[in-house]
């Protein structure tokens, strides 16, 4: 039985539809992340699972039971808030004990659990302190402890690392992931930081305009994005627009007059549209899959896709050469190659851009 299920869940505020009919199943023990830009509906969806917003329509099921109308205090769900929301007038220990007190557990048991969970997040020494005496990172840990000590079936995390500095964030990402694995608890995480999502998640649900555009593992999201938005939002990518001609192994993408061979997968999934002869499509190629060589040099690919252009800019970023090439059609492509692949390519140089067709993804829209 799924831990969390959303069926056609929709939310509108007045005239604006913020969440458009979302279907989702979250499995037990999974680390699922809602990833998207601000305004995409990810936080609203999370809040509906938590009970802080009522869905306008659709059903939300926790452990198989419909809970859409239940208030937060009657759901077996706990939340780590973006602002931590620690109770300022209570100590760290009292904060953590709060949820357990609502369950009317015996005092001795509460005390033990509080001590244990604070040790788990390395905050046991701070038990008698007040939140205002703690740093951001420390408050964040207490917020996590306060939530997980109640052993909810689902833990919701609303951009919990947003206020931390970069180094601390990266540390906390690892810690949270390890914690989740250790506890085997289902985590639903919200962030706009795609690197964070890629680092921590078992699955990522990329959201845009109130809809889930793709939900898959991080590897899948990165290497096989389904839509232009996903390809562009997660990591850097090159987008080539063209029309598809032919079918099957003979299918070609025509970009700026050049016929490009497609991968086996792409050929199969080439879009069918009204007019047979002209089908517009987009190709996504990650910069690390692209190579640049001066005209005339480099391995002549056996029919692999390639385009000609001139170098606009070359940047050495230490671990990679980043080359921006202006194609004949006017579009730009970015290549990201290891430092040993070639020397400095001067701007204005004529070059050929190549990639392995298997690494290029044909997008749905």
């Amino acid at each position: 039985m799924a831990t969390v299920e959303l069926r056609r869940v929709t939310k509108h505020f007045g005239e604006t539809v913020v969440v458009k009919s979302i279907d989702l199943i979250v499995e037990k023990g999974e680390f699922l992340t809602f990833l998207g830009p601000s305004g995409c509906g990810k936080t609203t969806t999370l809040r509906m699972i938590g009970g802080f917003e009522l869905p306008s329509s659709g059903e939300i099921l926790l452990g198989g039971k419909e809970v859409g109308a239940l208030p937060p205090y009657q759901r077996d769900v706990n939340t780590v808030f973006q602002s931590y929301a620690l109770f300022p007038h209570l100590t760290v220990a009292e904060n953590v004990a709060y949820g357990l007190e609502q369950k009317r557990l015996p005092k001795g048991e509460i005390k033990q659990k509080v001590t244990d969970v604070l040790a788990m997040v390395q905050m046991d020494a701070f038990a008698p302190r007040k939140p205002r005496e703690l740093s951001g990172g420390q408050q964040q840990r207490v917020a996590v402890a306060r939530a997980i000590v109640n052993n909810p079936s689902v833990l919701l995390l609303d951009e919990p690392l947003g206020a931390l500095d970069l180094k601390l964030r990266k540390e906390m990402q690892v810690e949270l992931k390890q914690l989740q694995r250790r506890l085997g608890m289902t985590f639903i995480y919200v962030t706009h930081d795609q690197e964070e999502a890629l680092t921590m998640s078992d699955r990522i649900a990329v959201m845009h305009g109130g809809k889930i555009e793709q939900i898959a593992s991080p590897v899948e999201i990165y290497t096989r994005p389904r839509t232009r938005f996903v390809a562009d939002f997660v990591g850097e990518t090159n987008l080539l627009s063209g029309t598809v001609e032919g079918e099957g192994t003979a299918a070609r993408l025509i970009v700026g007059g050049v016929r490009l061979p497609l991968s086996a997968l792409a050929s199969k999934s080439a879009p069918a549209s009204a007019s047979e002869s002209e089908r517009s499509a987009h190709l996504s190629i990650r910069p690390e899959s692209v190579t640049v060589a001066a005209d005339g040099e480099g391995v002549s690919s056996e029919g692999g896709p390639s385009l000609s252009g001139t170098v606009e800019e070359t940047i050495f970023v230490g671990s990679t050469w980043k080359t921006i090439v202006r194609l004949e059609g006017g579009a730009k492509m970015v290549a990201s190659e290891p430092p040993g692949s070639h020397g400095y390519l001067a701007p204005g140089l004529s070059v050929v851009v190549r990639w392995d067709a298997e690494h290029a993804v044909l997008l749905e829209e």
Partner: protein
């Protein structure tokens, strides 16, 4: 090129005026206090000696003491009404949206912005039709009504500075709304509530215009003093006035100490 500094006539002059105004504000009060110890019945200059005579008279004045008791009772009652109605109203305004919000804010403040006499005659005209004849009950209701605004404004301001997520966190952790109110909201607005209560108490004790039109037989303290003044000058009034001055200063000290400490940060 900078001007050569002119001889500093301005600053001493400024200080002189400022001190003069300060004296103007305080001297009359000091006079009242000093002359409360006047052994004579007439406020003449200079004072011939010091005496506690008028304090004794004041304490023996039954009507005055009765009025004091009534004022305190009404102040406590009015403050209670103001707080009991002001806190929920502040919560509603700070955490919810509803039509007529702005109107409510304006209406609540009316008794404070309008001259007391207008509110007084308005209440006097209607209360009997509501089954509240002119009496101490009417005074109590009248005070309670304008005191709502005192608590509402202070608690509202405090709530605005408080992170609303902590209320959601409380619900998230399993607390029903009433528990959230008593365990989370109330402790964090405590100083605002106490401060408003103190201020309300003082305002009620001192209130004259609205009370003037709502009383029937029994007098509140200011009205009783007023009546004494109308009868003529008596240093007994000096004595009770001195007591009021002392009480007021005491309440200010308590109030600013409380505000100085405040609660912990809102986050």
């Amino acid at each position: 090129m900078k001007q050569r500094p002119a001889p500093d006539v301005l600053t001493p002059l400024l200080w002189a005026v400022a001190i003069a105004v300060f004296v103007f504000l305080y001297l009359p009060l000091l006079v009242v206090i000093i002359y409360s110890f006047n052994p004579d019945a007439v406020n003449s200059f200079p004072m011939r000696g010091v005496s506690l005579r008028w304090y004794r008279v004041m304490l023996a004045d039954e009507a005055l003491m009765h009025a004091l008791g009534i004022s305190v009772a009404i102040a406590i009652g009015g403050t209670t009404i103001g707080v009991l109605l002001g806190v929920p109203a502040a919560l509603a305004l700070a955490r919810h949206e509803f039509p007529g919000k702005k109107l409510l804010e304006r209406v609540v403040l009316l008794p404070l912005t309008l001259p007391g006499i207008v509110t007084g005659v308005a209440m006097m005209s209607l209360f009997p039709h509501l089954g509240v004849p002119l009496s101490l009950k009417a005074v109590l209701i009248g005070h309670g009504t304008f005191l709502i605004a005192i608590t509402l404004t202070q608690v509202y301001a405090r709530l605005k500075r408080l992170d609303p997520s902590i209320e959601e966190a409380s619900a998230d952790l399993g607390a029903p709304p009433l528990t959230t109110f008593f365990r989370i909201i109330l402790p964090n607005i405590r100083s605002a509530v106490v401060g408003s209560a103190l201020l309300s108490f003082t305002l009620s004790l001192d209130e004259i215009p609205v009370t003037f039109f709502l009383i029937a037989g029994d007098n509140t303290l200011p009205i009783e003093i007023w009546t004494m003044m109308r009868r003529g000058i008596s240093p007994e009034v000096n004595a009770i006035s001195t007591l009021i001055i002392a009480l007021s200063i005491g309440l200010i000290v308590i109030s600013s100490t409380l505000q100085g400490r405040g609660e912990g940060a809102g986050r």
